[in-house]
Structures are given as structure tokens and as C-alpha cells.
Amino acid sequence: MPDKNKLGVGLFLFSEAWFFVTLLIAYAYFHSLPANGPSAGNSLNVLHTLIFSICLFASSATIHMAARSFERGERTGVTGWLSVTVALGAIFLFGQAREYIGLFAHGVTISTNLFGSTFFTLTGFHGLHVFGGLIALSTLLGVTMDGQLGEVKPSGFESIAIYWHFVDAVWVVIFAVVYLWPLVA
């Protein structure tokens, strides 16, 4: 029978996917309508966000490396790759905060217009998920730095890794829909 921790996290992420799909549909629907004022095309800096996005995408590879080190029982590998993952996640959040502050400075907020409402709700909830993932990763890092790898259940480690990959994958979709769509259109 399947591992209960991994299955539980899998089902949780399945439901999270529907949550983001609903927010994405709202974004896409309003984006497809003609509108005045701030929009993805005239307010977002694709290049800046791409740089920070690459950090998040790279962190999927580093958590994978951490998981491989964990399987082999190499403690330094685990703590090293986990630290890099946490750092990359934190850099992404820093980038998001920087982007938000820039938008606020130009008067673009959640109440400005539909772009603001949908953009901040969608990316804000994604940011919250990254933040939650950072807490889980930091906890994992603390435990592995402090003691033996045997104290961490393999399925627990893998569950957190699956969650992190999911957060990453959601950003791939959001980046494509929010940042790349205006370039194509």
C-alpha cells in the first residue's frame, strides 16, 4: 500500500492545485477583457521577475540534490543543499517584495483595478505558499544540522520535497500566464 505521508501530501497538493486553478481562471478571464489603467503589460518588469524566478526554479534542483544526499546518508550534502534551497527561496520572496513595493509606489494596489485585484491575490497566495515551504525547509535544516539523519523519516523528507516542487510548478504556470502572456499578445 502507498506511503501515507506521501499520499496525504499528494492529496493536499491536488486540492491546492484546484485552489490556484480557480484564482488563475479569475485572472485569465479579467485579463482577456479590455481594460484601462495598470495592466500586466504596462506595469510588470518581466526581466527582473525572470531573474528571481530562475532562483525558484533552481531551488527545485537543489532540493532534489538534498533528497539524493539524504538517501545516501550524507549529512553534509543534505545540510548544504538544504541551505542553498532555503537561500534561493528567500531570494525569490525578496524579489517579490521588491516588485510589490515598486507597484505600490506607482499606485498599483489590490483595490486599483481588476488587474491589481487578480494579480495580488494570485501572486500573494503563491508567496504565502513559498513562505510556508521555507518554514518547513528551515525546520528540516535545523533538525538535520542538529542531529542524525535517522531522526527524519524518509517519507517526511520526501513530502516536504514534493511540496516544494509543487510550489515551484505553480510558479511556472503563473509566470507564463501573468508575465509572458502580454509579450505574446
Binding site: 502507498p2 484546484w18 479569475a26
Partner: protein
Amino acid sequence: MKDAAIPGPTAIESFEQEAHEGWLAWVSSVDHKQLGIMYLLGAFVFFLVGGVLALLMRIQLAVPNNHFLTPQMYNQIFTMHGTTMIFLVVVPLLVGMATYMVPLMIGARDMAFPRLNALSFWVQIFGGIMLYFSFATSGINGGAPAVGWFAYAPLTETAYSYGPGVNYWILGLLGIGVGTLTAGINLMTTILTMRAPGMHIRRLPLFVWMTLVTGFLIVTVMPILNAGLVMLLADRLLNAHFFRADTGGSAVLWQHVFWAFGHPEVYIMVLPAFGIISEVIPVFSGKPIYGYEVVAASTLAIAFLSMLVWAHHMFAVGLGHTFDIFFALCSMAIAVPTGIKIFNWTATMYQGRVRFTTAMLYAVSFLLMFTIGGLSGIAFAVAPIDWQLTDSYFVVAHFHYVLFGGTALALFAGVYYWFPKMSGRMLDERWGKVQFWLTFIGFNLTFMIQHVLGMFGMPRRVFTYPPLPGWEAMNMISTIGAFVLALAVLVLMINIVISLRSGEIAGDNPWSAWTLEWATTSPPPPENFTRVPPVNGRRPLWDLAHPDRTDEMLARAAG
């Protein structure tokens, strides 16, 4: 034959119950049986509250031009009645029954995640308390939400609902939603990873099967509601624009989001009821279920189709012909797998040795009443009929036949069937039959006439009406029926109190049933089983009692 080991949580995960006594033992419990009972009791309390709200409405509507309630109060009351009955009564009752029964029926020690189980329950309860707290908000715009249970925009926006009632509604539902979602994850994981050896997926009791599919629906659609709720909350508290047509938002988007959740939710509320019926009817017919595979497979078909029918709630919006036709066809198609089940249950009773216990009476009346609700549902799938009858009392009659005539009657069957297992004592059959007939008569008196009332043009959600021909008498009949129903609930409470004190001792298996929950003591010990019986078929206790005529042998003999 060899006895099987019990899969269960490791020592770290199971908690030390001895540490607490009395109330604290319940509040701190992570045991699925205690949590199951708490779910049922909590939902029953909300059932009484929701029932009182219904009686207030029926008193107001008993005579034309009545001023028992103000229009504002009436709007709050029907909103709270609907929200309560769906989110705080029906779903928690079904989740509670599954929480208690699923681990027992699959031969497990507890749920997959016992602590998450406690979290689900408490978050759900606090969500309910949060919702009711809205009554305590005062001022000219205070009070409970007055927007109906599906809370259409833009009525829910601050321009039209200035008070905090809708905020409480959103936050309460988010709590309830998270609780239900985590319960769904937990039930699914339990069923997929904690089964006793030999309990293949094709041998699961049908109640467990239905719970598995319900869990899947919960995990899929609850997040859609949650997403809708956070968007609405952003509109109300952060001045966002999602559903505000005046600033470019879309009120119809809310309808899509809500019903994309809302219609599968209907099946979340009815599939476990199908499961209860699929346990009760075979046991009291003395025959295994007719067409086990078909019952399970048609459930999957229902779950799939249920996600493609939501816009039949929106025919009156004017979405266009293609759209209407697609959703009309899907809505008619979903009646097919549902209808098949009715035949499965009827065929199970056919030529069986039927024992008309109270549980069985409820199960049989479920078949009749649910079929009526299903037929009026098919009528609604025809868009022009929907245009004619939408927002009339015909709708009210239809969904009460599905949710009361369907789910509630099945739940009563489940209560009479499983009460002996949960308490160790039988529920009294004489009181039970009194309750059954009062329920059956009261229910039909209340809601049958509402079909006619709807066809005569009475709209739902109006606080009063002029003395039009026929309306007066029909409303009075409906109100009388509601009070008969209330009496029936009173009888159930009397029966439970009396039976808990002096009911007949049940023993392990009072109904000669076949599923694993009847293999242990009543009530079961904290660890559920000392030994799980071997599972070689769908009816392990039958096989145990008839080693010369096991299901396997019978199947082989039948070819």
C-alpha cells in the same frame, strides 16, 4: 485460517488517553471513535438550531400578511438555515459517521492522521461558532448574513451588505471548508493505506467505497469554494473588484465558482448516504448487495459527471443555447448512474428475507423519497422548465426531497443501524417506529405540497405573501407538517436518552451483519480489534460463521 495483524499508527503517533479523564479526555482526544461521536453530537446540536430556524420561517409563512418576523430577520433566518443545514449538519454528520466507521470497517486501529482528525473537527466547530457569532453583531447593519446560502454577488458586496454579517459567513465557511478538506484527505488516505490484510479495494464495504469517492470530491471542490471565498473577502475588506460589476468585475463569475463547488457538494452530501443504504438494505434483506461492482462503478460515474453539471443552477442567467444544452444533457446523464443504484437496491430486496426494522424502514423510505427528488431534478434539467420554476417553491420542494428525503432519511437509517455499535445498547424499536412514521408523514406534509405551491407561482425567499387562492391552505399544511417533523425529532431525542439508560444490551453483532465493525465489541475498545478476522471476501463475518458456505464457495458453485 490465520488472524491478521492490525495496521495502525506507531507508538509515537497514538496518544496517551490515560493522561486525561472526564471532559478533558474528549477535548484532547485524537481517537477516531470519540471524534466521530463528537462530530455527530456537534452536528445534531446545529441540526436542532437549524430546525428551530425552519420552524420560525414556517410560523411566519403559516398565514398571509403575517408580521411574526420582520423581513430583515426572515432573510437572516433563511440564510442561516441553509448554511447551517448544509455545512454544519449534513456534511459533518456524514463525515462523523465515516470517521467512526471507516477505520472499523477496514480493520484499522485509527485514521491515517489522528491528530489531523482532531484538527478537522475543531476547525469545523469553530467555523460554525464564528458563523453564529454574526447574530451578536449589533447596530443598524448588524446581524447575521442575509444573502441566501449561495450568497450571490453583488448582494454580498459592501454596497448592499454593509454590516459584518457576510464577513462572518466567509470566515466561518473558510474554517468549515478547511475542516472538511482535511477530513477528506484523512479519510482517503486511511482507506488507501490502512486496510487490513486481504481487504482489497474490490472487497471494501460499499459505505467505505462511497466515502472514498466523496473524499475525492471534497479534495477537488472544497478548494474552489475557498478560492471564491478569499476573492469575496478581498472585495469586501480590501476593496478589490472581483465580483463588483460597477468596476468591471463579474457577478456571474461568483455563480460559476460557487456552483462549480456547489453541485459536486450535493453529491458529497448524498454519496455517503448511498453508502449507508448499501450497508443497511443487504443486511436486512439477508442477501449480499446486487451488483457490487455496478454500485461502485456508477459512483465513479456520478463523481465525474457531478463536475460537469454546475451551470444547471444558472439557466436563468442567459449563458446561451450551446452552454445550456451541454449542461442540460450532462444533468440528465447523471440521473442514469443514480437510477441504476435504485435498481441495485430494489433487486437486493427482491426475494430476500426482509426484516422491517426501523433502520430498514428508513432505508426503504429513502428509496421512495429520493426517487421523487431525483425525478423533480430531471425536470429541472430541462432548461425551459427551469426558467418557469426557478426560484419558486418547486425548487425548495425538490432539494428537500433530495437532502431530507434522501440524505436525512439515510442518516436516520444509519443511526438506528450503528447506534448499537457506538453505544453498546439497542435503540428502542417501538419509539423508533413512532419516530419513523412521524418523520415520514411530517416530511411529506411539509414538502409535497410545496411542489404545487411552486407551480402556482409562489417565489422562495419572500417573507410573506397576499391571500391568493390556494396559497393560504397550502402554506398552512406545510407549516403543520413542519411541526410534525419537529415532534419526530423530539421522539428521537427521547429514544436516545431512554435507550442509553435502559436499552437492550446489543452484543457484538445484533443484526447478524457481515462487515468488520461487527467483529469487535460494542462499543469497540480503544485499539478497535484485539484480532482482525481474516478477510477472504466482501462478507468476512459471513465467511467466519459459514465456513462450509463462504462467499467464495457460493460464487464458485454459481459458476
